[in-house]
Symmetry: C2
Amino acid sequence: MNTLDALNQAFLVYPQTLKQKPRVAYAGTRGSYGEEASLSYFKKDCQLFPFKTFEDVFIALNKGNIDYGVLPIENSSTGSIAAVYDLLSQYQYFIVGEQEIHARHCLLAPQGTSLASIEEVYSHPQGFSQSEEFLRDYPQWKCIPYYNTAIAAAYVAEQNNPKMAAIASKQAGEIYNLEILAENINFSQTNVTRFVIISRNIELFQDPGQVSIAFHLPHRPGALYEIIGIFSVFSLNLCKIESRPLLKENWEYLFFIDFTGNISQNTLTNLIPIIQEKVEYFQFLGYYPPYSENNDTAL
Amino acid sequence: MNTLDALNQAFLVYPQTLKQKPRVAYAGTRGSYGEEASLSYFKKDCQLFPFKTFEDVFIALNKGNIDYGVLPIENSSTGSIAAVYDLLSQYQYFIVGEQEIHARHCLLAPQGTSLASIEEVYSHPQGFSQSEEFLRDYPQWKCIPYYNTAIAAAYVAEQNNPKMAAIASKQAGEIYNLEILAENINFSQTNVTRFVIISRNIELFQDPGQVSIAFHLPHRPGALYEIIGIFSVFSLNLCKIESRPLLKENWEYLFFIDFTGNISQNTLTNLIPIIQEKVEYFQFLGYYPPYSENNDTAL
């Protein structure tokens, strides 16, 4: 089924509601920011399945083992999470919602540890870069990168060695019974990570207001200008533009665009064919409610 | 001095040549791709200074300890290197050239090691993601992320343990006397990393043809469209657009644009004020010869 048919079919049952007790997958382990994003979006009413990598979440969706995946796509301090953009384009699944999480990092260590005994700190590389200013006061610490902040906390708890600490969330500290030696050590006090909720199918929840698409442009001057002009004609706001290299051709790019505005079924069915005509490849990624601190998601 | 004055002053001494025996800094250690990029660009006629982090290279430039820095800015398989974009905007230095390197990863281990004895593999996270398909055949191996591929190779050599291997360049294997157990294990056979050569000052070498700029847009619909329109009016080709979040404001972006075309001193001195008028913040990043496999750089 082509994009327009799939989208029009989804409009027939608009607005949809989330499944009851959905099976939700995230990358990480207990106490990770992925778990927090999943619980914030789906409330307590879901079954959580942690996976080791981002791609494992897509594979579980593909097998039909889960209903939704929850994946980080952008951090306000460190930028886009390229691997998730690539997987979205590879698997051709859909964004059905988004959730923001304030990542407040803590320095965690086995109970009774003092700052003076620490020699090694474990975290995700983003945990280190977001806590750079705090770490500058302890140049003697060896920072050892790990796959995930919560997995680093679990490892430090397991080792139970007063030379070792982790940078992870407060929740991770509580789950793994670690002592919180310092709180809110991220340098930007507005350190927010945006997660997307993905599904195998287009699902339109109440009040979608944001659209994500991806496309590959033909190689001629002005091609991007023409595309951006289309959004201007329809009075839509481009809120994000991201380019990712195509693997087959060096220095050719797949563009990812998010836009908002007064978007109706009519706008989309008019807009999409115009864009499709001007690009070499087009992918509709989703039409979903933008995150708002007060919204109660689709529940 | 403002951008236009600095640029016009640089045109007075165009074309410049590289300093004799320049002091060149890169991030990594002996055998790293940063060293290879430095040697490819500056040939043998330079003094090399390895530093641990990207920012250390900027700090050394700031102190006047070195003449040029060489930093990776983009990989054809895994995309932009966000930290380098952020440092370029923070330190306000200039791109004076670029160099591409084919990153051909090898699996390296202490002499006499067999594939069967390996339990742990050390590399930069990009080394793992670029060698993903090779690693899929060895799911029992534990992949441990490290700061740099060559530093991982040096560590494995130092440990001299047949359970340990590294993913790094062939050169790193030769330098640290490791056995090459598998060659060219990156999944994309065109795995290219683009490095930029940076300097404290604008330096214009023979035949510059590419311009890099950064800007922050006012918050109104159509702002990006207007900017891209300017390039269209001047018949310039946008070759790259990258957006990086501003730390102060969540979800506001600094845009980085590369463009090529028929660019003269006149084009630039006309173009820059038009762009400056339409943006809230403007930074000129450099006007430099685009990389070509046959060029001999500015030497």
